[in-house]
Each structure stands twice: as structure tokens, then as C-alpha cells.
Amino acid sequence: MDLYEYQGKQYFARFGLPVPDGETADSVEEAVAAAERLGFPVVLKAQVHVGGRGKAGGVKVAEDAAEAASHAGAILGLDIKGHVVHRLWVERASQISKEYYASFTLDRSDKRYLCMLSSKGGIDIEQVAEEDPGAIARCHVDPLDGFSEQEALALAAEAGIDEQARAGVAACLVSLYRCYDEGDADLVEINPLVLTQAGGVLALDAKVTLDDSAAFRHPEWADFAGFEELDHRERLARERGLQYVGLEGDVGIIANGAGLAMSTCDMVEQVGGRPANFLDIGGGASAEVMASALEVINTDEKVKAIFVNIFGGITRGEEVANGIVQALGRVDIKAPIVVRIDGTNAEQGRAILDSHGAEGLVSLPTMLEAARKAVELAAASASGVAGPSSGVSR
């Protein structure tokens, strides 16, 4: 789960990281009231899950209430790379002297944690990484050893952090490590971590990705849920417990397993089609799950054909087929369905689908043939050729 900046800062604060005082605001009135409580000047920051907010006009400084009102009005509702701003974070403006960068994440190659620290923080950190990789000091951390203040001080020196800031930066790194480790985050990143003109060190931004698998031991994470940007298909799928990613094409995809779902999308593109989505129903496809999956796909107006691709491992072919047949009885599916069942008890599964004999339901034995058929049906529908999609009866 990706946290918004304000949630990330709240999470940082739990682990003792210094963050500026601030409040959330969902309207111009709330923003002005928050600004007046905090004291001017304030910064109003769009809360969206996308980088480049500042350049898009999503971060503005206000010197007084009128300016705060005008900026809040401009930022709320702003579309930043497809993300509409519904919430602001209003915080006390900081007098910045220097900008640094700090993060902890997993180095999958090394299988240990990696701390990165740079004295050249700010919006161009990826460019710094490319052009001047030496400007980013790195340190691997063994999870069994943890990360000490001494290591943090050494890294701060290596990164060329200004001497007056080193102790503060080191303390931040130690707290940031705790947030990463005890806080079960996949990523914690501060960019910029600033040295203020008053000589303090502050986390001015917060990027935190929590490990969803650890939610069972973090009841406090419930506070972070429920305010996420999803399109309506993704929202419906989430409610039904399905792994769904909306794409731009016209062939709806249902498969069991993330790898097979991706593989199905690959195959559809390779035979000349375009997937409308990635949808993984997981293991043990029951009638219930299959009906939900078909329902989600059915809400997508772009879908002209549906490709159900199941490999029966533990899941048995006849159970999948029964699931599809039951689903068809419950959901009025607009597009034709091509089903391919392979693996355990595939023959029985295909026999069930054949005997059901619905128009607009085609069963084919291999992934390749089924992909071709689904793409052909979608193309026929798109070009207006009368096919099963123009009136599926069953």
C-alpha cells in the first residue's frame, strides 16, 4: 500500500522523525482554517500518488489567508497526470538551507536492506544517480544486525552531508530504519530531507510503501485505507477480492495466477489483439469468483470479447467449467466468451462447456487457438460484422 505524503509523515512521526506541523484539508475553507491555525507562511501540497506535483502546480506557498484560499481553490480538483486532487496537506513553510536525500529499501540482488543517502537531494535525484552516481552514498544493512548511529554518522560523512547537519541526519536515518524495519515498509524515502536555516533537520516529503503482507500485525494501518484512487473497474474488482488492472484494449482477460494472466495478455497481443485488462482470479476458481470476474469485465464498455484462460493445477477443470456455466446463469454477459481449460481434468471441463451449448461461448483446447479466436471475435465486433457479440442468447 502506497501512503500519501501526509500519511507518510504521520507514520514517520510515530518513529520519531522530525516533520513539519501540518493538517489535511479537503476544501478551500478547511485549507484556510488550517493555515490560520498553523501560522503563515504555509505550503499547500496536493495529495496524489504521482511524482512531479510541484512542476504541475500542485505545491504552492501562501503568505496570507487570501493567498491560501486562492491556491487551495486552484489545486483542489487539479488533474495531475490523470490523478485528480481531492485532498491537500497544509504545513508550516520551512526556511530551507540544504536539500538531502535518504531512503531504505530492499536490494533484491543482494537480499539485504540498502540505505542510500545523498547531499544532492531534491527533484532531480534520479538524474544525479545517472550522471554522478558517486554523489549517492550506499550502505547495505543486514536485518539481523540492524543499523547503528555510528554507521549512520559514517554514511553521513561519506555522503558529504554538511558538518552542522550530520548528527541530525544520522538521527533521522536511525529513526527511518526503525520505520522501515519495525514499520514493515517496502520503501521509506525522504526527498528532500532538509537542513533549515535555523540549523534543524526536517523531513519535508515522505514516500512510504507498506508491505500489505504484514497488515496482520499492524492494526493501526486501518487508518490509511479507504482513501485511494482507483477507476471504477478497479474499485469493483477490489471489493470482490480480485487482482485487476485496467488496460486500454478490447479483449477482456480472466486467468488463474498472476503469471498466467500476464502470459495471457502477452499471447493476445502477439496474435494481434489488445487486452482490456489483467485479471487474476487466484487459485480454486469457484462459481462465485468466476461470476464476480465476469461481472467486473462486463462493466467495461470497451470489451468486445472475453478470454477465460485456466490452467487446472490444484483447480480441477470440471469445477472451473461448472463455475462458468453457473456464472452465465447469473450474469448477463454482453461479449462472447472464449474458454480454454488445460491441465487437471480439462477433458471433463470442456465436455461440460460443450454440452452447455450456449451461443457466444466457445471452448478451445489450447491457449494459442483460444487467443486467436478471442481476438478474431473482438475484431469482428469492432468492425460491425454481425457476430455472437451483437446478441448473445443463451
Partner: protein
Amino acid sequence: MSVFVDASTKVVVQGISPTSQGLYHALRNRAYGTKVVAGTNPRRAGEVIEGIPVFATVAEAVEATGADASFVAVPPAGSAAAILEAAEAGIAFIVCITEFTPAHDEARVYSRLRRDFPGTRLLGPNCPGIISAGQCNIGITSGDIALPGGPVGLVSRSGTVFYQAMYELTEKGVGQTTGVGIGGDPVPGTSFVDCLAAFEADPETKAVLLIGEIGGVAEEEAAAYVAAHMSKPVVAYVAGVTAPPGRKMGHAGAIISGSTGTAAAKTAALSRAGVTVARNPTEAAQAMVEIVSELP
């Protein structure tokens, strides 16, 4: 021949009970011919479930039965502890199928095994398991899709594409030595490179089919290993060729990995290493048929 497990492997099922997932899969594995010799469950020690004697701890099971492999199918909150218990009891090969083990638990377990139990191999977590065709099946793979007799070694990050690829090989009459599902979690106990090294050393394995997917650096590492150390032909497919780039949060990932991680980068790295790269599992199996037909 096979890698990691064979007909003599003796398996203890951790956290067994009459309704556990572990028992369900263990019975399927036993029906395949796997020697399932023990189960553990502190509340059921002394019982016999479906003919499987139950012990309180892995150590007791090892002492009584000589088990040398374990099968972990416990819920995520207990998977790290279960793996370490098996390692401490001297188990050499641990299969953990548990999905949603916290990443930090995986990192700590990996570090602990590397430091204190260098002789123990962990497969997973979140993997389909391992099947040495006709000999031993530990995990959730349906045994009937494997064709004994070799000559192909199969290794996959994805679960269902692992089944798909094995099934396509079997359908085309190409047998397997061992299929290893390493899982796609952030810190897998066994890597592509570990499996490639084992297949390279196994005289019965003549060619390797590798199934990757987008994200991480495992395929790039596999490519480097193939280029430097493999004499046997390798065919690969990377799932997610057409996947759109995910929402990116933060810069740390980009700084570490640069442009690696995409299917394009992975297939390019594999091609440069001399690997035959297919665009889908069907093509991959077909490419393997051609390679096998030309083997001496």
C-alpha cells in the same frame, strides 16, 4: 537423476492437522510416490493422521523418521518461525508454499540461513514447490502434468506458468528431470542461479527451460550466470512482455535498478547470454522440442 530431491527424500509436513492445507497437499504428494514420513503439531503429538505419525517438533520428527526435507504450508504469521525450526532441526531442503509472508520476515530468514545454516536450502516462500518427475513431488503441483525421464530441467518464478510450461512439454513428449518453482516473492530462498547451477551439474539434465516474469533482477542475474557458466542450452520466456509499467513510487527502485526489471530488458539480457527467448509458453515449449531433438 534429478536436482534437490529424489525418490529417497523423506518429507515432514509442518503444522499438520486433519483440516490443514498441508495435509491436503501432502496426501496428494504421497499419492505421487513421495515419502511423506512425518507431520508436526504440538497439540497433536502422538496421533497418526491418514497414516502419517505426528510429532510435537521437527527435531523429534527428524530423530524418529530420518526426515531430510520439510513442507511448510502454515499461515503467513508462522511461516518464518516454521522455516527456522526446520533449519535448526537439521532439515536440508525446506519447501514453503505460504503466500503473503511479510518481506522483512523473508529477509531475516534468508540472512539467518545464510549465516547459521549454510547447508540448508529454502525453496520459496510463495512457490508451487518442486517435482522430480516420477520420484518426488513436494508442494502443490499436480503430479500428472510431469513426464519422467528428462532431459529438461524446468525453473519458474510464476506458479501457473510453471504448470503451463511443464504441461506443454509433456504434451509434446518432452520429459523433465526436475521442475523447480522458486516463487516470485522479494527474497526467495532459492534463486534462478541456484537452479541453473544444479541443472548444469546434473548429468541427466540436458537442457533448461526458464520462466521469468517482470520486476526484480533475477532474470538479469540468470542471464549473467548462463553466459559465464552454462554449457547446456537454455530456453526462456519472461511473462509480462505487454504489461504496462506499474505506478512508480519513490526514486529508490529506479536508482538501484536503472532500466532493469522490464520484460524488454530481461529478454535482451537473456538473448545476449545466448538463451533462446520465446514470446509465450507455447513457443518456449516448441523451441525446447527442437533443441531436444538435436541433442546428441
